[in-house]
Symmetry: C2
C-alpha cells in the first residue's frame, strides 16, 4: 500500500522549489518532457498494451477501449500539448493590484501557485501529461490518482516525466502518481488536506459526488453540464437552427453539449416542425412536453426526470414557456451551472437572460459548445468549474493559482 | 426541529430577487435596518438579558459574559456598522475583464453574487448584524447558525432585520437564522450543498475543523493565526522592538497577533535582553529555545509543541536561526498561512522572505496586526481566509462574490 503521508510530504518539499523556478526553466523542462515522451513512446505503448488487454479481457466497451489506447499519433499529440503550454504566459508573479494605505503601508496582491494540486480522474491516460503540464507551468506540485483501467499507461507516462525532470535538475516529486487502485486509498487521499491545497475531480457525476462528499481538501467541482438553449419569440430562426444542431450533435459526449431546448410558445408552430426534421436527419431522439408533442412527430413524451438529465447522447428534451422569465426559472431549476444560451434579436430580453440565468457561461446567439479553455483563448484547460467558489467556467493556468498580499512598511504599528 | 430543506429553498427564492436589487435599494434597506435596530433596542436587550442570565447560571467565564452582553452603545455600534456598509461600493455587476475572440464572440467576465452564503459562528451576537450587512450588500442570501449561548439575542436581531426588510418590500428570507441549538442540526446544515454555495465558519479551531471535515458545501477556512516575526541580522532594532511588542500585546486574543519570534543568531545577544525587559513590562511569558534561554531571564524552555501553538495569550515562543532561509523553513513548517513579518533593512533578504514564506499576508517592517479588512481599506470584513482557494487574507464585499461569463455572438457555431 502506498504511503500517502510520505507522498504529501514530498509534494510539499517540491512545491517550495517549484515556486522559485523561473519561467525559462519551467518552459525548458516542459519542452524536454515533450521530447522524452516521444523518445520513450515504445515504453509507454508497451505499458498501454497491458491496460488495453486487461480492458478487453474484462469486457470493456469498444468505445472505452478506443479512448484508452495510445499510439504514435496520440503520444505526439500529448507532446504537442506540453509544447503549447510552454508557450503560454506564466501566471506566477503577476501583480494583480497595488495600493498604499494612509499610514504608508504599501500593499501588493501577487499571484502565487496554489502549492499542491490533487487531481482524481477516470479518463484517458493523456490526462496524466496534460495535468502535469498545467500544474507545473503554474508552479504547483501535483499528486495524481488516475483510473485503474489506465494504471500501467499512467505509471509509464509518470516515470518518463519524472526521469526527465531529474535530468533537468528539477525535483521529480513535482509529479507523483498514486499507483494503487484500491478505493480506500482514493478515499484516504481525499483527506490529505494537511498537504494538498486543492482537489480537482475529473470524470463522471458519480466520481465528482464522491469527492465532494468525502474530501476534506477544498474541491473544485467540474464537469456536469445540463445545458439549455432557449429560443425566444424574437429569435432569428435562421440562427437558431444551426446553433441547436451544433450544440446538440457536434459532439454528444461532452459537458458543453446542449441537453434541453426551451421554446417560446409564440414560435413553436413555426419552428419546431422544421427543427424536428433536422433532428431526424441527425437521429436525435426528442423528449417533448405536451405543447410540443404534436409539433414534433415521433417525439417521446418528456417526464419530469428528462428535464434534469445530462443525456450525453443523441437525445434532447423540449420545454415550452410563455416568456423569458419562465425560461429563466425553468433553466435555474434544472441546470447544473454550466452553459446556457438564448436565441433572440431583442436586446432587452437578452439582457434579462444574461443577468437572470445562474450559470458559469451564458450565451446570446451562439452555441454552448464554446465553453472551453481553448475557445476562450486560455490556451489550455484543466476542466470546467461548475461551482462558484474560486473559479467558474473554463479553468486555465491562472485558475490554478492563488494570491498573496505583500506589505512593505517602515516600522508601522497598530494603535 | 427546523426544516433545513425548506430554509434552503426559501434562500434560493430570495437569492434570485436579491441579485436583481439595485445598489440604491440595497443601501436604503441597510440604512432602514440600522434605524430599526436602534428603535427596537429594548426588545433586543430584553432577549439578550435571557442569554446573559443563562450564561451566568451555567458558569460562563466573566470575559465571555461581557462579550455576550448587549447595551445601548453596542447596539448603536452595530447600527453604525450597517450604515458604513451602505456607503461601500457595490461589487455586483463590475466587469472584471472583456475580450473578443477571433470568431467574433464578445466575452465579458462579470462579478455576480455567490447566491446563498452559510455562516456558522460562535462569537458575539453583533456578528448576526455584521454578517447580514455584508452578505446583503453583495447580493447574497444568508443562512446563519450562531452560537447557542447567544440564541435569544440572535433571534431578536434577526427578527428586527426581517421585519424591516418586509417593510422595505424585500423578501425577508435574505436572512434566515437556524434557531435550533442541536448539534445534529448544525451537521445537517453542513450537507446542504443543494442550496448553499459557500460556508464560512467563524470561531475556534475546533469549530473550523469540524466544518472542514463534515461539510459538503465549499468552505472558506478562516481564522487560526500562528503568526511569526523574524528579526533578521540586518534589522533596524529600533523598529523591531515596537513592532514585536505591538504584534504580541496590543490585543492578545486575535488571529493576527504574533505568537512566535524568530531571531537571527548574529543579533540575539544585542537584542534579546532588551526585548525581554519589554516583555516583562507587559507580563509576556517567554518560551525560549536553547540559544535564547540564557539571554532571556525567566524564560521557560520551549517544547516542539510551543512552536505550533496559537497562544492567544501573553505568551510567545522564541526560535533562533542562522539565516533567512532557515527562518522561512521554520515558519513554513509551523505557520497557519495567516500573517508573517520580517524586520530587515536588507532589500534582498526582504524579497526572499516575501517570496518564500507561504502565507496570506507577508510583511516587511510592520506589525502583523494590520491583517484586517478595515486596515486594508476594504471597509468591512467577514473574516480572514487562511486557505488558498477563492480568497486569501482579509475578505470584504468583493470576496463574497463569484463571476459569470457573458458571451455575445451572432450565430457562431463550433466546427
Amino acid at each position: 500500500m502506498v504511503n500517502l503521508n510520505e507522498m504529501g510530504q514530498k509534494a510539499c518539499v517540491s512545491k517550495y522549489e517549484l515556486q522559485k523556478l523561473s519561467t525559462e526553466v519551467k518552459n525548458k523542462a516542459l519542452m524536454a518532457v515533450a521530447d522524452a515522451l516521444c523518445n520513450e513512446k515504445d515504453k509507454i505503448i508497451a505499458a498501454n498494451v497491458i491496460d488495453v488487454e486487461n480492458g478487453e479481457k474484462n469486457g470493456m466497451a469498444p468505445g472505452m477501449v478506443d479512448r484508452l489506447r495510445l499510439d504514435d499519433k496520440r503520444i505526439a499529440a500529448m507532446a504537442e500539448g506540453l509544447r503549447q503550454v510552454a508557450e503560454l504566459p506564466d501566471p506566477v508573479g503577476e501583480v494583480i493590484e497595488e495600493f498604499e494605505r494612509p499610514n504608508g503601508l504599501k500593499i501588493s496582491k501577487c499571484r502565487v501557485p496554489m502549492g499542491v494540486i490533487g487531481i482524481i480522474y477516470e479518463s484517458r491516460p493523456n490526462v496524466t501529461a496534460d495535468a502535469f503540464s498545467l500544474t507545473f507551468k503554474s508552479g504547483n506540485a501535483t499528486i495524481l490518482k488516475g483510473g485503474s483501467d489506465a494504471i500501467e499507461s499512467n505509471k509509464a507516462i509518470t516515470e518518463v516525466i519524472r526521469d526527465c525532470l531529474s535530468k533537468e535538475g528539477i525535483n521529480p516529486d513535482a509529479i507523483q502518481l498514486i499507483a494503487d487502485t484500491d478505493r480506500e486509498v482514493t478515499k484516504s487521499f481525499m483527506k490529505l488536506d494537511e498537504y494538498v491545497d486543492v482537489l480537482i475531480p475529473r470524470g463522471s457525476a458519480g466520481l465528482i459526488r464522491s469527492v465532494v462528499t468525502n474530501s476534506t481538501i477544498p474541491v473544485i467541482e467540474t464537469g456536469t453540464g445540463n445545458c439549455h438553449i432557449y429560443v425566444d419569440k424574437d429569435a432569428d430562426l435562421k440562427k437558431a437552427l444551426p446553433i441547436i444542431i451544433n450544440a446538440k450533435t457536434q459532439r454528444i459526449g461532452v459537458c458543453n453539449a446542449a441537453e434541453s431546448l426551451v421554446i417560446h410558445e409564440d414560435i413553436n408552430k413555426s419552428f419546431l416542425p422544421e427543427l424536428n426534421k433536422a433532428f431526424k436527419e441527425k437521429n436525435v431522439e426528442v423528449h417533448a412536453d405536451m405543447p410540443s408533442m404534436s409539433l414534433m412527430t415521433g417525439a417521446i413524451p418528456a417526464t419530469e426526470e428528462d428535464f434534469g438529465r445530462e443525456y450525453l447522447d443523441y437525445k434532447i428534451s423540449v420545454k415550452t414557456v410563455s416568456d423569458v422569465e419562465e425560461a429563466i426559472e425553468h433553466i435555474n431549476k434544472y441546470n447544473t451551472g454550466h452553459s446556457e444560451a438564448i436565441i433572440t434579436e431583442n436586446a432587452d430580453t437578452a439582457e434579462r437572460f444574461l443577468n437572470g440565468v445562474d450559470a458559469a457561461c451564458v450565451y446570446v446567439n451562439a452555441s454552448t459548445r464554446f465553453t472551453d479553455g481553448f475557445e476562450f483563448g486560455f490556451g489550455a484547460e484543466i476542466g470546467i468549474s461548475t461551482q462558484k467558489l474560486h473559479a467558474r467556467g473554463p479553468m486555465g493556468l491562472r485558475e490554478l493559482t492563488s494570491y498573496k498580499y505583500k506589505i512593505i512598511g517602515n516600522g508601522q504599528i497598530r494603535s
